[in-house]
């Protein structure tokens, strides 16, 4: 057809106004890391002041790493899911369900561990497939679809295990969860880091990673350029399910026990780690390295709370606060059109801000008034516990 006739340079000055990426753009690649790195640094600083002796021990970092390793495979897969502008809230239930089925296969049916473990992962993949089909074929939005399946998978787990705790797994499975290659490094950490490495290759050098980003960045463009969007979305959810299955195996091995209510907060923990690590919830932009940092940060934070002997229930409050602060910080870093004009006082003084402040004051006033009312009309008290 048309031979590649070279177009003469006279067709215009070179289209380069500034050759190459700007400094800001060169840094942008690493911005995803600045968020979690800054928070890790802040955390280390805090702990260095408060409790250096117990936090900064090799054995403690070992614990942190092993705890983080459990979430690494799922964080890898969740990064891809979120890159496609999707989400998967069912991973905890998938992990529990597949671990329970694995337990039955091993204990009641005598399956060898080297069949049961891949089977659990494969079952996880099937759960992911169901999620993917629901989202692509039935067109149920991912948020509600995976939330509902979270309920369903958890239900299946309860049906199978009822209230029983399945324990005493074969030593190989326990090794996957908490074993160590002598003198070297913990097996779960090897598994976790390997899956992240695999995730990095997928993300940067395979069609799966490229299409996941394209689908999240511009779904219409992906369709127009002929990308089989539905098929790749299904691949991404299948991978997510498989990693949840792997995490279920690792959890069962680590605790040497699994029950229907295991892994209650996998979904929040993993999603938080991925988002804190710089992956955008709006899709199109993600970072496997950032997810690694996010996973480490969350484990370091939980460990810090335990080291500081903060009550277990406050840990949830702290976790929530950290997630919100880091996402807010990251969003602030991303803003290229920051409004430099005006101090905080000026911003609060605008009519619109004033209306908002009045509304806030009203809510507090109502709540406060109700407390006052209760106090005035207080009668007999009874013991709470």
């Amino acid at each position: 057809m048309s031979d590649s006739t070279a177009v003469p340079a006279a067709s215009g000055e070179p289209d380069a106004l500034a050759a190459g990426p700007t400094t800001r753009e060169r840094l942008d690649r690493y911005v995803a890391l600045i968020g979690p790195m800054a928070m890790i640094a802040a955390l280390l600083l805090l702990m260095a002041i408060l409790e250096p002796a117990r936090y900064f021990r090799l054995s403690n970092f070992d614990i942190i790493l092993k705890d983080a390793a459990l979430y690494m495979p799922m964080a890898m897969a969740m990064t891809l899911v979120i890159c496609t502008r999707g989400i998967d809230l069912s991973i905890g239930s998938v992990a529990a369900l597949t671990a329970i089925i694995m337990a039955y296969m091993v204990k009641s049916f005598g399956f060898p561990w080297w069949v049961a473990v891949p089977l659990a992962i494969s079952l996880g993949a099937l759960c992911g497939l169901v999620n993917g089909l629901i989202i692509t074929r039935l067109k149920v939005p991912d948020l509600i679809g995976t939330l509902a399946m979270d309920l369903a998978y958890r239900g299946f787990a309860l049906v199978l295990a009822k209230g029983v705790v399945l324990s005493r797994f074969p030593e190989e499975i326990v090794a996957i969860g908490r074993g160590e290659i002598p003198g070297f490094v913990a097996i779960p950490v090897v598994i976790g880091l390997t899956t992240l490495l695999l995730g990095y290759v997928i993300y940067t050098r395979t069609r799966l990673g490229r299409y996941a980003l394209a689908i999240g960045s511009n779904p219409e463009a992906a369709e127009l350029t002929g990308i089989p969007v539905d098929r790749y979305k299904i691949y991404v959810y299948v991978l997510m399910g498989a990693m949840a299955g792997l995490a279920g195996v690792m959890l069962a091995g680590k605790l040497n026990a699994v029950q229907a209510t295991s892994a209650p907060f996998f979904n929040l923990h993993v999603i938080a780690a991925v988002v804190v690590g710089g992956t955008s919830l709006f899709g199109g932009r993600g970072s496997i390295v950032g997810s690694l940092a996010g996973v480490l940060l969350l484990s370091m934070m939980i460990n810090a709370l335990v080291t500081l002997r903060i009550e277990f229930f406050w840990q949830s409050v702290a976790s929530g606060a950290v997630i919100i602060l880091s996402v807010a910080f990251y969003t602030w870093l991303q803003k290229s059109d920051r409004d430099g004009g005006g101090s905080l006082a000026a911003k609060l003084g605008t009519p619109e801000s004033r209306r908002t402040l009045r509304f806030i004051a009203l809510l507090f006033a109502i709540t406060g008034a109700l407390f006052l009312l209760g106090w005035i009309f207080a009668g007999e008290t009874t013991a709470v516990r």
Binding site: S4, S11, G20, S217, A221, A222
Partner: protein, 257 residues
């Protein structure tokens, strides 16, 4: 130099009609374009320009009429059929994944790969090199950088990436462009018009839908005016004027080709 009317048309659409339920979008419309010319399609909103173009690119099927390409009958069941025949389009939205690099966008959907130990991986380096080559050699464009998200390039450079994608991926014979300069400032518009000419000079037939009569008179060889689903007239750009074409768009005058 022979005028485009003397050469065999590459695309010949005759008597095209399109109905959507009870609505007639197109009524007995002709279109022909030859290799190496720029045909502009103009007309007010609802004139049927997009519909006609979508029939050419295989998105719609005509309710009546015939299409031939280089003398052979042209039957398109979907857009990929059109691409197989060398007909591609650059849409107003450009269909670019903003977060990805220009080379990633250029090869979107048809990536170059290499095998590493039996595994098929993307050949990012080769795609980058090829992207630079296509942009430079066939469009005369050097992007500000290949390592930035496509969203940070200027409108004209994004346009170049979208055009390069169409030019590279198919054995392109016909390029359709829908409002290529609509969102561009004057400098970027000038660059884009040069790109259109660069594509034409390679023997590709270019069909441009545009609201801007200035741009149309700058870059096109012939102008086809549509009004309310019908062909209002076809003129040679050289032999016409903005006022005259405007008159045809609005309906003050009708002119045969």
């Amino acid at each position: 130099m022979p005028s485009s009317q003397d050469r065999m048309p590459l695309i010949d659409m005759k008597g095209i009609g399109k109905r959507f339920g009870g609505v007639t979008a197109l009524d007995d419309v002709d279109l022909h374009v030859t290799a190496g010319e720029v045909l502009a399609i103009v007309g007010d909103n609802g004139a049927g320009k997009s519909t006609l173009i979508k029939i050419l690119t295989g998105v719609y099927r005509p309710t009546s009429g015939t299409m031939t390409m280089a003398g052979e009958p042209l039957q398109l069941n979907d857009h990929s059929d059109a691409i197989d025949r060398g007909i591609d389009a650059v849409y107003q939205s450009l269909a670019l994944a903003d977060h990805l690099t220009p080379s990633a966008n250029l090869f979107l959907g048809s990536e170059l790969t290499r095998k590493v130990m039996g595994v098929t991986l993307l050949d990012n380096r080769r795609m980058r090199q090829e992207a630079e080559r296509v942009l430079q050699e066939r469009l005369g464009v050097r992007l500000r950088s290949m390592d930035v998200p496509t969203s940070s390039l200027s409108g004209g450079q994004r346009q170049a990436v979208a055009i390069a994608r169409a030019v590279y991926n198919t054995d392109l014979k016909v390029l359709v462009m829908d409002e290529p300069t609509a969102a561009l400032g004057p400098q970027e518009t000038a660059r884009t018009l040069k790109l259109i000419q660069a594509v034409r000079d390679q023997g590709i037939a270019v069909i441009v839908i545009s609201h801007s009569l200035d741009d149309v008179f700058e870059v096109s060889d012939r102008i086809q005016v549509m009004r309310r689903g019908r062909l209002a007239g076809v003129v040679n750009t050289r032999d016409s004027s903005i006022t005259s074409v405007l008159g045809m768009i609005v309906g003050a005058t009708d002119q045969a080709a």
